[in-house]
Symmetry: C2
Subunit: 430 residues, 2 copies
């Protein structure tokens, strides 16, 4: 197929959309040489065409009607950068039914509706590309699908939420507490007014669901991911972690085990010499293990206008090249298998426990006994005087089944000598 | 095109070839699902078919005649893992002329003869893929060509030679000198009997030439890369670097500047908080900067049987998919431009200088004057008493043109108060 240019339509012109517009219009010659044809933005869906956007654009490029884009026979690629599920999913589904290739940055939609959308894409010989949905500008979807295709990936550990990584970095460096750092992050625009999806771990869980599905060739849905946020992490926990040679990070962890897939997002103590321990501020990184490659890490900016637009643009170029060569859909869904997702109680981990106990002889013994009774063995214990009557005890366990640990914790919380269990954080030793 | 399996031929069955054989034969079902057809190794070129290889293989698979593979019409993909230029280049050129796609791990060949080979591939609608030629298992060629295609890449800094990184890591951790570490690395098989290509920086230079050519869309040949190895690095330099908050690494650096391309391989002092500073042992990493993505890093094992075979296999799968869809050559050479490579004298850098001087008043002033006369300004100075008559002086300059620095060093070496200039190492502050 020989054409002078491939026409595309944008659904949305928010932060990422503006970045895509800038790259596509600013690098047109470079793009033409790479693709073999130009890329022309024909229409953009916006709510308010009159809004000032800081871009030089003709008014005629705007439409307020999605159908003008998804039903336009000239438009071959739909770039979805409006986010959300409603009405986005409907637009994307219709575009695929019309045989258009879709490039999206929408992690919520891909994580929850990937199966249905891939079936539509396949049925209509269209590409469905979503590199930008995970870790912004960092190439991870294509590396997983193509570059590591000879591997059996056994494990992914990611820092995939910039907001929480920024907050934990600040708490670690300055010794400040969660609430204070959150207010500061909100003032700087690094955290949203409603920070639930970020600090609660849901954003990371969606990204993990997408990565695990590709890496393990078996679909993992967002609600199959165990999720725990960083809201309970205190300056005291971070300080103890440091004393024990760990750093606290919000990790997105997926493992492919003989008993099924493990998928969990939670704060964790990570050894200071782990490659992920040096990933600070708003940076993201994905550390993975494959049977051939060994361990590898992909590091970069996980969000922001231009990094995310970089990933969207790369997908647009690939979709355009496939259209020119008439090979849309050449690489499709890779969920060939149907592996179970393990119950969290059956996973195994090490744990850090901080608790307040009455400071008298025999208390530590009673706590150690309760753990031992549930087959939880202890790797290290720190005990610090808090006041005349209370001691703060910090324990790190050996690897133990989560169910046993939870059972032990229930019993320990009820011991008369234990005033309170202040925090329990998992420890990830690779 | 619908076929049950795509037949491939291997040129060579050394370390990497054995890894490829293991992955292709061990993951056949997984590969079939990804590609849409099986991959079958039909023939393997070896010198001695009778040699024991620790693999279960039929004797009939071996041939000692390359033509049996490159002229076999059934064989669609040639996997070149024999290395070297002679007779490899001839075989690969003939295979491409026969319309066969070629997958190679051969950095020497791609760096020196990429242009000619790409022209052959294009003329015969074949793929030429070489992910394994740079940084072993780490995906970097495809990310540069596809995932970052929306970016203008301005800079690449790589640690791309595992042998020297292992040696420098050991020297840093143990305070040992170059010769001792080299002997140990040779005994462990991490360094070759003739270590020149590794410790002299030539291996890294070839990899840098390949990466720079792709990143900057303009061919950089290996002999256009300035090369300096690590043979002159001493334990003393590493200790001083540490005192100044730096670590010594062998860096492969390429920059795309308005005045032309900079391409250089040399040891450098790198700030301890740089992401590359934590890349230790035999690990490799490529740190790059693009106008949209910002900075990103790709980290992993840069060599070894299985990591390199992982990259070769991914290329085989892509070549096979392209054959099935009849779109060989869809992504070809991307050297669209012809940018000059800057003379090393015109580049600019900071420098660390360690010298031995007579310990008497006015010596430091005379040295500082000589630098100042060539417009070299000093950022920091350390002076240590060595014995009654000698002082060791360690200087770090501000950023200065290399030519000026070399001119100043010539004059300083001749100052009567200077006994010797012990070492000069560049400092890379991003």
């Amino acid at each position: 197929m020989s054409v002078d240019s491939i026409k595309i339509g944008l659904l949305g012109l928010g932060t990422v959309g503006r970045g895509v517009y800038r790259i596509i219009t600013g690098n047109s010659e470079n793009i033409r040489r790479r693709v073999g044809a130009g890329i022309e933005i024909k229409k953009i869906l916006v709510r308010n065409p009159a809004k000032e956007r800081g871009l030089e654009m003709q008014q005629a490029i705007f439409t307020t009607t999605a159908e003008e884009i998804i039903n336009d026979p000239e438009i071959k690629i739909i770039v979805e950068v409006m986010g959300g599920l409603e009405p986005t999913l409907d637009y994307v589904a219709k575009a695929l039914k019309n045989g258009k290739s879709v490039v999206t940055a929408n992690k919520d939609m891909i994580a929850a509706q990937g199966k249905m959308l891939f079936e539509l894409a396949d049925a209509n010989q269209a590409d469905l590309l979503f590199e930008a949905s995970v870790a912004g500008g960092i190439p991870i979807i294509r590396p997983l699908k193509q570059c590591l295709a000879g591997n059996r990936i056994s494990q992914i550990i990611g820092i995939v939420n910039g907001t929480t990584n920024y907050m934990l970095t600040k708490m670690t460096r300055e010794g400040t507490d969660f609430e204070a750092v959150l207010r500061e992050a909100q003032a700087l625009g690094y955290a949203e007014a409603d920070p639930t999806a970020d600090v609660g771990g849901l954003d990371a869980a969606r990204k993990l669901a997408i990565m695990a599905s590709i890496a393990f060739n078996s679909r993992v849905l967002p609600d199959e991911v165990y999720v725990e946020g960083i809201t309970k992490i205190t300056a005291a926990d971070i300080a103890y972690a440091k004393e024990l040679n760990y750093i606290v990070k919000l990790l997105a962890i997926a493992k492919d085990t003989a008993a099924g897939i493990e998928a969990r997002v939670h704060p964790a103590l990570l050894p200071l010499d782990h490659p992920l321990a040096a990933v600070n501020d708003v940076y993201n990184a994905i550390y993975l293990t494959g049977d051939a490659i060994g361990d590898a890490m992909f590091y970069g900016r996980g969000a922001g206008e231009m990094p995310t637009a970089s990933a969207v643009t790369a997908d647009i170029l690939n979709a355009a090249r496939n259209i020119l060569h008439q090979v849309q859909g050449m690489i499709s869904c890779t969920c060939f298998e149907d592996k179970p997702v393990r119950s969290m109680r059956d996973t195994a981990c090490q744990y850090y426990v901080r608790l307040q106990a009455v400071d008298k002889p025999g208390v530590l013994a009673s706590i150690a006994y309760a753990f031992g009774d549930k087959e939880v063995s202890l790797a290290s214990v720190l005990q610090k005087q808090k006041d005349d009557e209370t001691a703060e005890i910090v324990l790190v366990t050996h690897t133990v089944r989560e169910g046993n640990m939870q059972d032990a914790l229930q019993i320990i919380a009820q011991l008369s000598a234990v005033n309170s269990v202040s925090n329990v954080i998992r420890v990830e030793e690779e």
